[in-house]
Symmetry: D2
Subunit: 327 residues, 4 copies
C-alpha cells in the first residue's frame, strides 16, 4: 500500500522504515531535505514539498503527519486540506490534543476528507518492536488503511493471551485499536501517557527512598547501603512491579547507579496536562497523575515563589530565618 | 536440601510445593492440621507442633516462617528461638516491618542463631512463575541456603538481559538478591510494595478517566464511549505502560468491563504505610506513594469527618446546603 | 449614585441593601418578580424586564449582573449590550471565568461599553461586614463607580494596619482593589477561592485526625477523647491558625461536634477547577489546591471506578478478595 | 504564684516576662548564664543550675521546661525527676512528641510527680498577644497551676463570642484548654501545626499562581501583571481567607513583593511529620497536610534522585535528553 509521510524526525522516519520493511511504498517529505534524501536511499520516494508529495500519491491518498503537535500540525493539516481530494485521508500520528481532532475532522468532512487521529506509542523502540496504535476516526477510513496499521503494530508476538477475549476484535491483540470516532485515538493515547507519568513517578519515588536508606538522618544502626541497580534487576523477575519502565530503569542503573549524567530537570509534554484537564472536566479525582505532573514542574525551577512565601510566614510568626544552604 | 515451613496458607503451601518439585525435602506445620495433611499427601513431612517440626529437622536447621506479620510472626520467632540450636537459621518470609528484623536478628545473634528476612513477591502466581526474593541477613546463612532460594526464584527465563550487568552477581538475574544485612530484605520488599501501590493507582486513575469519557458532564459532541477492556489489551502490545499489572487489569476487564463484582473497598497492608514512614524519616518527598495509600483509606469509609467539616464551613460563609444525594 | 442590579438572589439582594443603606439608588430586576417586589418595599425601584431596567437608569448607566456564571451571565451581558449606550458600564459580580471577561470586554469595547469584572467575596455576611471586591477593567469606569465600590467594601474597621503600606493605594485598605485590566478581578477572586479550598481542606483534615484520636485502630493507652469544639475555640485565641474559617468551624462544632446533619457531600464551583487550570498553564505546582478539589470530587460518589480497578488487580496478583462491608 | 523556667530562648524568656507582668515570681535557668542574668535584671531570680533552681522553689514546685524537643527535653526531665519531690509538677512547654509525654508521665507517676504537656502557640508575638495553650495532664495539677495558664493565655480580648458555647468551659474562651490526659496537649498542638502547614501551603501556592499570571508561557493577551502586596491586603478585608497567616503574608509582601531575601529553603519541625504519622495510624486520608510537608522536603534539595530516575526512563523509551538549564 502507499502512504505519504510528512515529518521525518525519529518517529516519522522509523514508521516509514517499518512500513517499507513490510513491503509498503512511502512518499516522504520533511522541511529538511537531508531527512528525505536519507530515506530515499533506503527506498522511499522523496518529495520536495507538501504539494509534490500529494502529487506523487495515487487517489485515494493517505498522508500521515508526524510533526510537533500544535501549530506545526495545524498548519500542515490546513495545507493538505487545501490540495487533497474527496476520499483522501489525513492521519495525525503526533500527540495532538484530542479536541483539536474533533474540530479538524468536522472541518474536513464537508470536503469529503477523512481524518484519523493515531495515538502512537513505542518511542525509539518502535522500529523493532512495533508501535502500539490507538486510532480515532470513521470505520471506512480505518478499514481501508488496515494494511498500514497492521504493519506498524507489534503483532501478537509471544505475549500470553488474555483469557476471556474470545470473540473480541482480533486487531487489538495485534496491537492496534479502533478506539472510536475522531478524538478517541488521541484521547486514549493521552490517558496512556498520563498513566505513564504516574507509573514513572511511583518508580522514581521508590528508588529515591531506596537511595536514601543510608541517610545520615537515620540512626546509624538503621542505615542500609542498598544497590539500586541490583534491586531494579531482581524486580524484573517475578515481582508485581515487572514492567517495561522497570526494564529501562534497570538498564539505566546498571550503567550508572548514581544517574550522575542526569540533571534532574524533567520536561513534560501536553498529554499529562490534558489528562488532568479531562479528569477535572469529569470530576474524577486523579491525585497520582496530577502529582506526577507537578513533580516535573517543580524539577525545572530552583525555587518556587510559594517556598519563599512559606519562609516569609515562618519568619513572621516564629522569627525563623531559613538557612541559605541547601540539603 | 531440607527446610521446615511454619504457616501453610496460600503462600507457605505453594513455596513448599515449588521446593518439593525441585527435589527439596520439607517438614511442614500449620495450626490447622488439615493444611499439613494436604501437603503430606504431596510428599511433605507433616509435624504436629513447632517443637515436633524442629525435632524432625537435621542440624543445621532452616525454618521458614510464613505467618501473618506482627504478633503471629513475633511469637513464632520466639517459640523457635527457645528450641533451635546454635547454627540454625530462621527465615521470615512474611511482610514484617524491617526494623523488627533488625531487632530480632540482634536478639538471636547471641544464641548463635541466624535470621534471614526474605521479602517474597509473586503472590498466587509464584508456584508456577517463581518468587522474586529480596534477602537480608549474614552472608554465611544466605550462602548456605542458596539451593532453597535458587529453587524458589523464577530463574532467567526468556527475559532479555539488561545490558551493562556483566560481572555483577548472577543470582540477581535468577530472581533473588542478597540485599544487605538484616532488615534489608524486607526494606526492599517494602519499597517494592510502595511502588506497586503507586503503579496500581496510576493505572486505576487512568481507567477511571477513560470510563468517564462519556460523562454527562461533558458536551455531547465531546463524549466518547470507550471500551476499557480493549484499551487495556492494546496497551499490552508495544506501549510504554506494558507491565504485569496491566496484564492483570486486562484480564479483569475482559471478564467484566464494569468490574461490577468489586465493592471498591480497598485494603492496605503495612508496607504502604511503612514506605511513607521511611520517606518521612529520610525527608524524601513521596507524593504518589502516599496518595495511593490515602486513596485506599478513603475507599473504606462512606464519608470522612473532613468532608463534613468542609460542608459546615461552606454553610457558614455561603449558606450552601449540600445535597444529600450522591453523584 | 444610581446602579441597576440584575439578579436578586442572596448576593444580589444584599448588595442592593448595602448600597441603599449608604444612600445609593438601585433599580432592580429578577426573573422572579417577588424578589424585585421585596426589595421595592425596602426602597429599590423594581423593573419588569432588563429593557425596563435600562430605561429606568440615567446615562451613563451602570448595571451590575449577579446571576449564575456561565450561560446565564453570558446571555444577560448580550441582552444588555444590545440596548445599552456608549459610555454605559456592565459590572459582572458573579464568579465568571476570567478569560470570558477578557473576551467580553473586547467585544463590548467597539460599542463604547465599559465592562468591569468584580470578584466579590463575603457570602451571606457581606451585608453587615461588607464585601471584599477585586476589580478588573479600565480605570475610567472603575473610578467613575468608586462610590459604589466604596459603599460595598468593608472599610478599614478595626483591622490593624499593615506596616510598610505607606503611600500605597488607600482603596485597598478599605477592601476594594483595582487589580488590573479586564479579567484581573475575576482572576484574583479565582485564586482567592483556590486558596480558600486549600485552607478549608487543611482545617478539615486536621479535625478529622483529632476526631479519630480515639480510633480503635490505636493501642488503648494511646487513645484520646478530644473535644473538637473546644479545640476549635481555643485556637481562635492567639494561635497561628486563627482565621475566619476557624471561627466558622468553631461555631459549627459548638452546635454539633459530630456534624451529624451534614452528609459529607461537598460541591465545588468553577473557581477551584480554574485555579488548577491556571497553575498548569503556568507550570506552577499546586498540590494542595488540587488535592482540595479532588477531595470534593471524591466526596460525591460512593466509590470510584479506580477503586474497583485496584481491587481487581489485587485479586489478580494476590487472590485478595475485598470485603463488601465498609469501615 | 511561683514558677521555675528552664530554657530561656525566645519562647522561654517571653513566657517568663509575661508571667512577671502578671505578678508571678519566676526562678529561671539557662545553660547560658547571660540569659538568666538578663531576666534577673527584669525581676526574675536566676539560678545557677537545675538543682539550684529546684532548691530556690517552694514545694509544691512547678518547673516549666522550654528547651528543644527530643534529647534536650528528655535529659532535663530526667535530671528534674531525680531531684523533685512528690507533689511537684513538670511542665513541658516545647514541641515534644505526644507519645513521649504519655511515657514520661507514666514514668513519673510512681514518684508522685505530676507532668503537664503544654502545647504553646504564639511565637514571637506571644509576649504581647498571649499564648494559646493546649494542656495535657491530670486535673489536679492543671487546676493548681491555673493562675499561670490564665496569665499566659491571651484572654477574651475583643474576639467575638462563638454562639452556642453557653455553659462550656470558660477557660477555653480565654485561650487555654485542658485537652485531656497526658499527651493530649501536645497532640492537639501537633495537629494545630499540621493544619498550619496546610494553610500556609494553600496560601503559598495561591500567591505563586498570582505571581506567574504574567508568565511568558501564556498568550500575551492573557498575561496579567498583578500586585501581590495589594492582593494580600485587600483579602484582609471581608474575604473568606482572612487569617493571621494572611496578615503576616501581607506584611512581608508590603516590604518586598519579590520576597527576594528568602532563599526558598523551608525547614520543618517534627509536628508536621507526626501529624502524617497519626493520620496513617488512624487510616485517615490527609493529602493536604502531607503535601505541605513534602513541599518543604523538596525545597531543601537541588534535585531529587527521583527526578533523575524520571529522566533516565524518558531517555530510555523516547531518547529524550533533558536540558541542563533550569526554568
Amino acid at each position: 500500500m502507499q502512504l505519504g509521510m510528512i515529518g521525518l524526525g525519529r518517529m516519522g522516519a522509523n514508521i516509514v522504515r517499518r512500513l517499507m520493511r513490510a513491503g509498503h511504498n512511502c512518499v516522504v517529505f520533511d522541511r529538511d531535505p537531508a531527512a528525505g534524501a536519507a530515506l530515499a536511499r533506503e527506498g522511499a520516494q522523496a518529495a520536495t514539498s507538501v504539494a509534490d508529495l500529494v502529487q506523487k500519491l495515487s487517489a485515494p491518498r493517505a498522508v500521515w503527519i508526524m510533526v510537533p503537535a500544535g501549530d506545526a500540525t495545524e498548519s500542515t493539516v490546513r495545507e493538505l486540506a487545501a490540495i487533497l481530494q474527496s476520499g483522501d485521508t489525513i492521519i495525525d500520528g503526533g500527540n495532538s490534543f484530542w479536541k483539536d481532532d474533533v474540530r479538524r475532522a468536522a472541518e474536513l468532512k464537508p470536503e469529503g476528507l477523512h481524518y484519523v487521529d493515531a495515538g502512537t506509542s513505542g518511542g525509539v523502540w518502535g522500529l523493532e518492536r512495533g508501535y502500539c496504535l490507538m486510532l480515532g476516526g470513521d470505520k471506512a477510513a480505518i478499514d481501508r488503511l488496515d494494511p498500514i496499521f497492521h504493519a506498524l503494530a507489534p503483532g501478537r508476538g509471544d505475549i500470553p493471551e488474555t483469557p476471556g477475549r474470545e470473540g473480541r476484535d482480533p486487531r487489538v491483540e495485534r496491537g492496534y485499536l479502533h478506539a472510536g470516532p475522531n478524538g478517541a485515538g488521541h484521547y486514549v493515547k493521552m490517558i496512556h501517557n498520563g498513566i505513564e507519568y504516574g507509573m514513572m513517578q511511583a518508580m522514581a519515588e521508590g528508588f529515591d527512598i531506596l537511595k536514601h536508606a543510608n541517610s545520615p538522618k537515620l540512626a546509624p544502626e538503621l542505615r542500609l547501603d542498598l544497590d539500586v541497580a541490583d534491586i531494579a534487576e531482581v524486580w524484573r523477575r517475578g515481582s508485581v512491579v515487572t514492567s517495561w519502565l522497570l526494564d529501562l530503569t534497570a538498564t539505566a542503573l546498571a550503567q550508572d547507579p548514581q544517574l550522575a549524567s542526569y540533571s534532574g530537570h524533567v520536561d513534560d509534554s501536553g498529554e499529562g496536562r490534558w489528562t488532568v484537564q479531562a479528569a477535572i472536566e469529569q470530576a474524577v479525582p486523579a491525585e497520582v497523575l496530577t502529582s506526577s505532573l507537578y513533580t516535573r514542574f517543580r524539577s525545572r525551577v530552583d525555587h518556587t515563589f510559594a517556598e519563599k512565601v512559606l519562609s516569609a510566614m515562618r519568619k513572621g510568626f516564629g522569627g525563623h530565618v531559613e538557612p541559605k544552604a541547601s540539603k
